[in-house]
Amino acid sequence: MPAYWFGDVEGGSCTPFSGNAREIAERARALRISMEDFEPLNWELAVSCGICHDRAEYLAKLREACFFAAERDIREQYAGKDTELLHMVRTLDEMDTVINLLSERVVEWYQIRQPAFSRKYRRTPSNLMVRKIREKNRGALGNVAGQVESLSAARTDLAREVSSRANRVLPNTSALIGGLVAARLMAEAGGLLPLARLPASTIQVLGAKTALFAHIRTHTPSPKHGVIFQHRRVHNAPRAVRGRVSRVLAGKLAIAARLDHYRGVAVPEFLERAQEKIDAAGMEGKA
């Protein structure tokens, strides 16, 4: 029995479906159509069904329902907890790039004004350098330096927010590796669901694309870690066991991501055992 958005058709007679745009949209979503000898609708059926009088009215009704359905679907897709976090992480990474570029540029500019100035034998971090430049210079240079500073401040705030939101969206993953790195992993994967579907071996090298493809193409040594290197347990581990630690960590992260997606709450029993395993992997080298 063919079912269309405006009604069910059987043996030439049609049972109209009367409902507003929302109800039609719900109906269209719920209908289960088999494409085996499916016959596309003929809009004139809708007229004989008493749904509309002419094509203009037919299209207007159909469009109204389609707009409703599309807006509903967009809202549902954006309502995922990870969607905004994704944008926050990407903004954070882009801000880093911009801040680095601009502070480099500002220092270069300052060097032209102060021919005696050199960064050699100085250990001034670039944010302090930028502040000094702002204090010592008026006009455009001082202004730009000030903007870089406030951008850095905004970046710090954003990083804090990313971290706390990741703790909520990815409770298990964040517990293992920290909110910021967890959020980066998710952004690399493209979302929470895609991350939950990745095998541990992929999570281990997420963010090491260049090294991975160099390995596949030209057989350079394989990358041991990608984004997860940013976590202290990996970069503080002695070189000899770093590969082991990141492998074990990635294994536990894969499970954690699945818990985050399918359960959405922290699972203390899992976390405890996972932490032990990861710590043990780091200790093996020292024993």
Binding site: W5, I33, M35, P40, L41, R63, A69, D73, I74
Partner: protein
């Protein structure tokens, strides 16, 4: 198709995407739209005022808006939420566009909404482009035309574009289509080909 001198245009409300206007007509840029590129290559089929079109991979609605200028009704299918937001804005102002948010690879999702069409236009970045076209051919009238924009790089990045092109044509011919024209869209779009066929 409507040309002003050497420039392809369509007649409709302008300002959709800051397109250039020429004598009150909307300029249809071949570098932005693959369908326009096809016409600039001297191929493709005439869009007629009575035509009904199923447009798979509608994206932001740029090309859709031009197709809607020429034809009767356009069913615009798009899956991703971000471009769909733009498409909805375009469709609000063009009453012959029916926006459908669904996966073109799963026609059963929108089968209750779409009627028989004269033209099936497909521009999706998926590996199984030929299969998607075949699955959607149920909406295409006998003798209707399929215009498939083949993104060879989306099918298989390791294969030569020419090989992907050949394979796709073979698959289509084995599944009830007669290929009329096929052409690369150079210099407008790289590694993109257009295949125009008729449903047998």
């Amino acid at each position: 198709m409507k040309w002003i001198g050497e420039v392809l245009v369509s007649y409709g409300e302008g300002g959709v995407y800051n397109e250039r206007m020429l004598d009150g007509a909307r300029v249809w840029d071949p570098f932005r739209s693959k369908l326009a590129a096809l016409y600039y290559r001297g191929k493709g089929i005439e869009l007629e005022p009575a035509m009904r079109v199923l447009y798979l991979g509608a994206a932001n609605g740029t090309t859709v808006s031009h197709v809607a200028d020429y034809t009767d009704t356009v069913y615009a299918v798009e899956f991703a939420p971000r471009p769909m937001q733009d498409l909805l804005v375009v469709a609000r102002r063009r009453e012959n566009i029916v926006p459908v948010m669904a996966d073109a690879a799963r026609p059963e999702q929108y089968a209750p909404l779409v009627e028989m069409v004269d033209l099936l236009y497909q521009d999706v970045a998926q590996p199984n482009q030929a299969a998607i076209a075949i699955r959607n051919s149920v909406f295409l009238k006998k003798g209707g035309v399929l215009v498939l924009m083949l993104k060879t790089r989306s099918v298989d990045i390791r294969k030569e574009p020419a090989e992907v092109f050949r394979d796709t044509i073979e698959t289509l011919e084995a599944n009830g289509f007669a290929v009329k024209e096929h052409v690369w869209l150079e210099p407008y779009h790289h590694d993109h080909a257009a295949i125009v066929c008729r449903k047998l």
